[in-house]
Amino acid sequence: MKIAVCVKQVPSDNKSLMDKKSGTLIRNGETSVINPYDLFAVEMALRIRERVGGEVFAFTMGAGSAKKVLIDSVAMGVDGGYLVSDLAFAGADVFATAKTLSEAITFVGGFDLVICGRQTTDGDTGEVAIALATHMNICGLPFVNEVVEIDEKNITASCDFGKHNAITKCPLPAVISVDKDCGLPRIPSLRGKLSAKKAVFPVISLDDLFDKNNNNYGLSGSKTSVLRIYNTVFETSNNIIKEGGLEFLKGKFESVKKGDL
């Protein structure tokens, strides 16, 4: 079985890089990381490979630095990866991202299954997987928390629909997005880390794709546009109580108990 797993580079949480005492940013160079949810997608791909045999390839669309997330994937055990990168791809929304990934996966060809994470920590839309399936004109199973059965022809998986799971079967090739309940991602082995160091990743650019019209990709091919991004401050009186906090709490709990919020 030939499996593609989609992984995205996301900014790492800046707050965790803050030096608490001095309040300065610790610059260890790790300003971006692999989307944490994609670790579950990689894990799922590896488990399916262990079950039915085959090969797993990671795909990432991003700038040159996104190569790092391919290295991380190979360290976990995937067989190789493709960097989908071109200035024409930059600035893509969900529609254009899914279009680009679909073209790139089709260019490499021969995949039975495409696995995505359920969402990212930056764009956080959780919509790329089904958009990708629709662009590729194949079935898509969302929010999979367990792959019940898989063979060369079909996949049966449990899809989370909130109050219930729907055990759904569909033909391959298909795209699935995996939930975090599907199994803890493995820690890269020493051997994995070594092969990751040696791995070379082919770059897929606009010229390689079937549809070469640059208006269909990146910012130009996007259907949404970001008007502006701004910081919100939580509505807060920001009242820090150093002395007498206990009395404050007692009073608050007592009035709540009386039904006064």
């Binding site: 900014p11 790492s12 707050k15 965790s16 700038a63 040159g64 630095s65 990168s85 930059a90 600035g91 929304d93 969900v94 529609f95 930056d122 764009g123 956080d124 839309t125 959780g126 919509e127 997987a129 089904i130 958009a131 629709t134 662009h135 079935c139 049966t156 449990s158 629909f161 909130g162 109050k163 219930h164 055990i167 759904t168 079967k169 033909p171 640059n214 208006n215 910012l219 259907k223 949404t224 546009s225 970001v226 008007l227 502006r228 991004i229 701004y230 910081n231 919100t232 401050v233 807060t236 920001n238 009242n239 109580i241 906090g245 007692k250 608050k252 709990f253 709540v256 108990k257 919020l261």
Partner: protein, 388 residues
Amino acid sequence: MAILSVDNSKCISCGICEKSCKFQGVKIENKYPIFNDNCTFCFECITACPTSAITVLGLEKKEFDTTLWSGVMVYLEIKDNILSEVSKELIGKARELANTLSEKVFGVVINHNINLEELKTCGVDTVFVAEGEQFADFKLDLVGDCLHSIIEKVKPSIFLVGATNQGKTIVPYISVKCETGMTADCTSLEIDKNGNLIQIRPAFGGNIMAEILTENSRPQIATVREKIFKITVDVKTQAEIVKVQGLEVVSKYDVLKIVKKAVDSDISHAKILIAIGNGVKKKEEIAVFQKLADEIGGELCSSRALVEAGLMPQSRQVGLSGKAVSADLMFAFGISGSAQFLAGVGGVKTLIAINADPDANIMTIANHGIVADIFQTSAEVLLSLRKK
């Protein structure tokens, strides 16, 4: 092809763009910023630049006749044979937007065994109903293609869908089929002076907001989570019911079984919450917080740290990878306030944090930050509640 560019006459060489970039996509060289291929077009620097010196070049305006599209359509999701809460919330919002535009509100429902009486008074002007046994279980291709054909006929300018897992599955399908944009998890929706929908949504874990437009395609599709908008039913409106034939297609999907999940009292709807975090280290230490919650009729929940430690069930985790909560009052004991935790508490009205560390992130975000030991305070508060 698009590219970022700087107007050197506006640039004051302050270097803020370089500092704001998380990807090292821009460096100041010879006083002015130079963009490199690490740039992911996240727009952080454009927004951060104090003189608006950075712009995007090379964007072609596409011609699209938006005037053919009119009305606000709501996807009506049926749960346990009744209209879901989020659908009702969206109808209220749809009416508000439609009034601003002087347009109509449509509902669309695709299901099996539909209660038409409920739909007649749900507050929309027209409901398009596709009913049939084939829709008993949700199958993306059947529902999606049927919905697509209705949208192509009715041509609504705006399409609102609840951000449930079903909604989040339908939206990308429809969006790709209609070749239009989708905006996820909006927390606010407005109409701009050109009649476009301004879709506002949180980004990067909750404290940053993004305003998103779908200017050159229709419908403008937005998903909204439950509990973001209030239910305001307009009972005067009697909806016209229009029956639509389901398309004759065979689904590629086969739903073998529906497995109901065990129901746990839900923290997302609780009015009062007591949240505990990594300050709690042992199972025995949880009891006092459970008792406090019981005293005031609240529910106990936690950060991910305690779920990972196996001390609390996943169903009680608050945050990005847990649940979004909307309590009137939340006490947070021994929680530092990571961006991921905070992503779940945006709907909380009053947050009171108890933490030994006055510099913990949560202290700057809480309405009241109490610097104290969580065990000592919780024991004493419990004691005083029981004395009264």
